[in-house]
């Protein structure tokens, strides 16, 4: 049984890298002889689906091994059910991105650009599974560096790359300082570092795109979201198993604080959005940001399941908000996406309120007051009104 689970885990971890390599090979040299790239649309969907299937197959094994109290440690990896759920979420994000971009046939990229989402997501998944906190943060940093190096090769992209690298590197260095420094201050430093990596308040997850008039590239936004989500998943596991007791308490407090502030700012932004044709994707951004903040609060409350639940909504819906309306997407898809985007964060807020109530009534009331007006506004903007 354990051997099977080890093999499956290994396959699930190695798959994104193989898939990316295969995609690069499929648009390799000679593909644009006649001025046309060979189309690898037909490959991307099956690759994402098989990646998802491999991640999902790990789930029963992880649960079984946890129930019978067997060792879930394989070499440097730990296969907890929560890590598996996190990896499933990241695979689903890849799949939704492919499903959303399936219609778009005319935009062509460099060959390496096809592999980038798979390779960076593969590194983030590895970071979620690793046992050692130093290894986790080093892998996350490596994923950010890889993403920057592969995204911003083109002309005029270096400034964006440097901005992204600057933020991610400062976050990672803060986390490393926190992990290396003994004593209670380590929680403060690590918490601040993970907040920077997860795109919480002082640095928004999507800094540049918010001021533009049109949404950014779907791939870039999804990649940014996946790294931020990976950082939050890792932070959730660090909150569950802290290095020291004092540091753990401070870490949780710092994370709840950052989550609250981010939620406050984002809900304000949601309410005072000027109506217009941009309202749809702007609310999409804001919803994603709010979900990241909810995930941070859940991580601070030491509820990794709720972290996964909070990250589910943007995972499923973000690409459709960014891509705008295309003809191939049916009305039904759009309606489903909008309903999911409104319903899942609402459920998350309810669960967090439920958990928070016995701990502190004041915080619960504060959360309700912060979130309530934004829920009304988002519902009015996104949910279709029934006109009969």
């Amino acid at each position: 049984m354990e051997a099977v689970s080890e093999i499956l885990l290994f396959l699930a971890l190695i798959w994104p890298f193989l898939a990316g390599g295969a995609l690069v090979a499929s648009v390799g040299p000679g593909a644009n002889d006649g001025g046309e790239f060979r189309d690898n649309d037909t490959l991307r969907m099956p690759f994402s689906i098989s990646g998802l299937v491999m991640s999902v197959l790990n789930l029963p094994f992880a649960i079984y091994l946890t129930i019978i109290n067997a060792s879930t440690t394989h070499f440097w990896l730990v296969e907890t059910p929560l890590a598996v759920v996190g990896s499933v979420l990241l695979s689903v994000s890849l799949l939704t991105e492919c499903a959303c971009l399936r219609a778009e046939k005319y935009q062509k990229y460099q060959p390496l650009q096809y592999a980038r989402p798979y390779w960076t997501t593969g590194l983030v998944i590895v970071a979620v599974f690793l046992a050692d906190p130093f290894l986790k943060i080093a892998t996350l940093l490596l994923a950010s560096i890889l993403s920057v190096v592969m995204t911003d090769r083109g002309q005029g992209r270096a400034v964006t790359g440097w901005m992204a690298l600057r933020v991610k590197a400062s976050g990672a260095l803060l986390v490393l300082a926190g992990l290396l420094f003994p004593g209670p201050a380590s929680g403060l430093l690590a918490g601040a570092g993970y907040a920077v990596l997860g795109g919480l308040f002082p640095v928004t997850a999507f800094p540049v795109e918010n001021c533009d008039q049109k949404p950014a590239d779907v791939r870039t936004v999804c990649a940014t979201f996946r790294t931020a989500a990976g950082a939050l998943l890792v932070a959730g596991s660090l909150a569950m198993h802290p290095l020291s007791v004092d540091g753990g308490i401070i870490f949780s407090t710092v994370f709840i604080g950052f989550g609250f502030v981010t939620l406050f700012v984002t809900t304000l932004r949601m309410q005072f959005l000027t109506p217009g044709y941009t309202v749809r994707w702007r609310q999409g951004y804001n919803l994603t940001q709010a979900c990241l903040a909810l995930a941070a609060v859940a991580a601070g409350l030491e509820l990794p399941e709720v972290v996964c639940l909070a990250l589910t909504a943007p995972t499923l819906t973000l690409p459709w908000f960014m891509s705008g309306k295309t003809k191939s997407d049916s009305v039904r898809t759009m309606r489903t996406v909008e309903r999911l985007a409104c319903l899942l964060p609402f459920v998350t807020v309810l669960i967090i309120l439920y958990v928070m109530a016995p701990r502190s009534v004041a915080m619960m009331l504060a959360l309700t007051i912060i979130v309530l007006p934004a829920i009304r506004r988002v519902g009015r903007d996104l949910l279709p009104t029934e006109t009969t």
Binding site: L142, A158, R166, S170, L173, L180, P182, G183
Partner: protein
């Protein structure tokens, strides 16, 4: 507390002021302090100490050498803001987080407490420069000095695999950073080349 360790925070503060110019000295002092740590505490593994010293020297000398031919950007230099922020953070670290008071409780760890405090001061000074100072050369210098601080702290820990890991990660980071900096900077016209073109 050796002389090299005492000079390190001072040099890290100078990064906010003069950027890449002090970076080689900072790297050299980091390498010397790391080797001195090994001298003070022979329980640390020799190979990893040499590796840390090597990485510190590489990340502080190679980017400066490669970026030497590029011009400074003429943006408003916010030196007072950067300097005051890094000074505040460093003094705050020194007063509130001095590791010497924590360490008597954690016996058996082969660590030098003053080195950890110094490392944290360098990291904060570097991150302040990275956050506040405009101009990519200065920001890169801040990033690399923060990396120096992390290396110094990593050389102190008991776990050996951490050192190798962080060294490799920091090498990647420095490589990507200097690649981007090189693309973002303009080549400066040196007087030498100018004379060569117009004799």
């Amino acid at each position: 507390m050796t002389l090299a360790l005492a000079l390190l925070p001072f040099l890290a503060l100078l990064t906010a002021f003069s950027g890449p110019a002090v970076l080689p000295a900072l790297g050299l002092l980091t390498a010397i302090s790391v080797v001195t740590l090994h001298h003070l505490n022979p329980a640390l593994d020799t190979g990893r100490i040499l590796f840390v010293a090597f990485v510190a020297l590489v990340i502080s000398i190679v980017p400066v050498w490669r970026l030497g031919a590029y011009a400074e950007q003429s943006e408003p230099a916010r030196i007072p803001a950067a300097l005051s922020l890094s000074l505040t953070l460093s003094v705050g670290v020194c007063m509130n987080l001095s590791a010497g008071e924590i360490f008597p409780f954690l016996s058996g760890v082969p660590v030098n407490p003053s080195a950890i405090t110094t490392a944290l001061m360098i990291v904060f000074a570097g991150l302040a420069t990275l956050a506040v100072r405009p101009g990519i050369k200065f920001q890169l210098a801040g990033l690399l000095s923060a990396c120096d601080g992390i290396l110094l702290a990593a050389a102190d820990t008991a776990q050996t695999h951490v050192v190798w890991l962080l060294g490799i990660g920091i090498l990647f980071l420095a490589g990507a950073g200097s690649w981007l900096a090189q693309r973002l900077s303009l080549l400066s016209i040196t007087s030498n080349r100018y004379e060569h073109d117009n004799p």
